[in-house]
């Protein structure tokens, strides 16, 4: 009997420690805000640096930074929301927005004049952060744009004035020009590399006059002449050896290829400026306007901060976010992370590369508004990985572009029912 009791006692002790994974009690006015975050470089440090004055002025507020790897960010957030304990504040990308938009606490409920607030930010950012009821659910922080960065030294060596030719060029013109560049530079092998994401591909798609969804975003319409042309062109440049196969087929990293001097151009984005500043020491590089097919276009994107329905410390969360999104803080954060600010009234003086930022801003200005509406669509976000896979199937020569777009529409339609 005794030994049974002994064992039971041990088990009880073990189980009580299990249950003792306690929660912290907030005492008095002190508030600790949980902040979910992911990093590309060191944005968390810059965030803390930027918001430091607010924290000094509000000593009862503490921040609990929770960093999660980007590849798992959406899943983690979903788990937390469905588990009933969302963070107080989270850094949100446009991708993530489309996934969690209905769980975000509208800013409308926390400010007096929502229209005045919305007017402070870039229209595309506001479009992204509006839910189906028209409520504004996230504060824009940095805006991003896709664009083209080129190896200027390589163009110089080929005797081409890249600023001149890129003023208003088409993709066909680009093709003959870049062939000369590759020929003039023995170490260089390719003309262009594109990030292995549907988002970056859509830059090309929009330029060829294509789209993902129909006019009012109520159903898939990937099967359209512009999209098909873009996919076919993408295959053509791969087959012609102008674009390295190892990126879209082998998941090699395009930025690394650019840094190694193997490609003349990289369709990446404004965020690459920071990295290239640090890592590229062997040649000159800069941002230039992208060629057009039907139209000029980039793809809008950016990051936001938001709070959730059911977050524990909503009042303080909103005060923090409002401060972080104001002019002074937005300027400082954008400057230090080398990003485009999301506020229309922000004047950022970058320590360097202001010309490059100008180029990206120009691209954003000519980007049609419907692109934002597509990229914030929740149903589309569920199909984007499949879209990427189907494009790869075309690149591999397994199916035709027409078959690919038909497959995508078929699969996507099930989400729009």
């Amino acid at each position: 009997m005794k030994k049974i009791l002994g064992i039971l006692l041990i088990l009880v002790l073990v189980s009580t420690t299990v249950f003792a994974a306690g929660t912290k009690e907030e005492t008095g006015k002190d508030v600790t805000l949980s902040v979910l975050w992911f990093n590309d470089a060191n944005e968390d440090e810059i965030f803390l640096n930027t918001i430091d004055d607010y924290l000094q002025a509000n000593p009862h507020v503490k921040l609990d930074m929770q960093i999660v790897a980007y590849s798992e960010y959406d899943q983690k957030l979903k788990l937390m929301i469905s588990g009933g304990n969302p963070p107080d504040v989270a850094r949100i990308t446009t991708n993530t927005l489309s996934v969690v938009v209905d769980s975000l606490e509208p800013i409308d409920n926390h400010v007096a004049d929502i229209e005045a607030v919305k007017a402070q930010f870039l229209p595309s950012m506001v479009a992204f952060a509006s839910n189906t009821k028209g409520e504004f659910v996230a504060y824009p922080t940095e805006a991003t744009a896709n664009g083209m960065l080129i190896n200027k030294s390589a163009f110089d060596k080929a005797g081409i004035d890249v600023d001149e030719v890129s003023k208003d060029w088409t993709w066909s013109e680009w093709e003959s020009i870049v062939k000369q560049v590759v020929a003039a530079n023995p170490e260089m092998k390719y003309g262009l590399t594109v990030d292995f994401t549907p988002h970056r591909f859509s830059t090309l798609m929009y330029q060829f006059g294509g789209h993902f969804l129909n006019k009012d975003q109520s159903n898939m319409e990937f099967n359209n002449p512009g999209t098909i042309a873009a996919i076919k062109w993408f295959k053509h440049v791969h087959d012609a050896g102008l674009v390295p196969k190892s990126v879209w087929l082998g998941s090699e990293n395009p930025a690394e290829l650019f840094q190694a001097g193997l490609v003349a151009g990289h369709i990446g984005g404004s965020w690459n400026i920071n990295t290239y500043n640090k890592n590229v020491t062997d040649f000159e590089w800069k941002a230039v306007r992208m060629p057009k097919a039907e139209i000029n276009s980039s793809v809008p994107g950016g990051k936001f901060i938001a709070s959730f329905k059911g977050s524990k410390n909503q009042e303080e969360a909103f005060k923090l976010m409002e401060a972080f999104a104001d002019k002074a803080h937005n300027e400082m954060y954008s400057r230090d992370t080398f990003n485009i600010p999301s506020r229309v009234d922000a004047q950022v003086t970058y320590p360097s590369n202001s010309d490059d930022f100008e180029v990206f801003l120009e691209e954003l200005k000519v980007t049609p508004a419907f692109t934002a509406n597509e990229w914030k669509n929740t149903n589309l976000s569920k199909v984007t990985t499949y879209i990427r896979e189907q494009i790869v199937e075309v690149l591999l020569g397994n199916i035709s572009a027409e078959e690919a777009v038909t497959n995508v529409d078929k699969k996507g339609a099930t989400y729009f029912k």
Binding site: A69, Y70, L262
Partner: protein, 274 residues
């Protein structure tokens, strides 16, 4: 005699070639952690660093919470190993040395669950942990993986071969069951304890999915999570990643070297008789 010498030489050469092929990738990772990031992607690629630097180590150790991740992972690995060894040994003992109804069934179910990929039950596990309040707690990654079927399997196989006579003699002397376990079985199980300990330490140290499901709080993350955090949405922080990877390998190697002697005899007894 010459034939023997030739054979020996071939034997050695073969081993050395294979060992090199086996270790070169690891060496490459370690050496690259001492290169500045700009050198990593320069063509021509280098094996040995052109410019040795400790910058990566300095920045990743400073960058945040590294000592915290390290101590979290040590805590999790050590405590979980302790629990695993005890729980698995007891379970293995029950399955090896007693007959009771349902014994086969329990054993079969345990082995069968080895086949369930963790991704499959990730969400239900998450909900279960939430019910028990173990979310975002190190206990959430210590306790659930502790009942590993592999450990029970190895323990059982080993204990089956221990002579019953000792146990019977102790019973005749009036010893209680738990006393038999702690005073006779446990001391005789050193090899299998070492084996399970090495495996458990290694599994918990390298765990990625479990902490991913359970932990969000930055201060409670483990090393593997920290490594994954260096892979951003738009780019990868290679220099910090390589330095941390190198540091993360060291403890596992130490544990392995320390327990090695018991390791071989433990697996031997655990898997040979079957």
């Amino acid at each position: 005699m010459n034939k023997q010498k030739v054979y020996n030489t071939i034997h050695y050469v073969l081993l050395i070639v294979l060992a090199l092929a086996t270790l070169l990738p690891v060496l490459w990772v370690v050496l690259s952690s001492f290169k500045p990031q700009s050198e990593l992607f320069r063509v021509p690629l280098t094996f040995l660093p052109q410019k040795w630097t400790l910058q990566n180590y300095v920045s990743s150790l400073q960058a945040g919470n590294f000592p915290v991740y390290f101590s979290n992972t040590v805590f999790v690995a050590v405590v979980s190993t302790f629990i695993t060894v005890m729980v698995n040994l007891m379970a293995g003992y029950a399955l090896a040395k007693y007959i009771f109804k349902g014994r086969n069934l329990i054993f079969t179910i345990m082995i069968a669950t080895l086949m369930i990929p963790l991704q499959v039950i990730m969400i239900p596990i998450f909900l279960q942990l939430k019910n028990f309040g173990m979310l975002n707690s190190l206990w959430g990654i210590i306790i659930p993986p502790a009942a590993t079927p592999t450990g029970v399997f190895l323990a059982r196989q080993y204990l089956v071969n221990l002579p019953d006579s000792l146990i019977e003699a102790a019973r005749i002397d009036g010893a209680k069951e738990y006393s038999i376990f702690f005073r006779i079985i446990l001391p005789m199980s050193k090899p299998i304890v070492a084996t399970i300990a090495i495996f458990s330490f290694m599994w918990r140290w390298n765990d990625y999915l479990w902490p991913l499901i359970v932990i969000t709080d930055n201060k409670k993350q483990t090393i593997q999570q920290a490594l994954a955090n260096f892979v951003g949405q738009l780019q990868i922080n290679w220099s910090d990643l390589l330095a941390m990877t190198t540091i993360a390998i060291i403890p596992v190697i130490i544990v392995f070297l320390a327990f090695q002697r018991f390791f071989f005899s433990g697996i031997a007894a655990g898997s040979v008789k079957g």
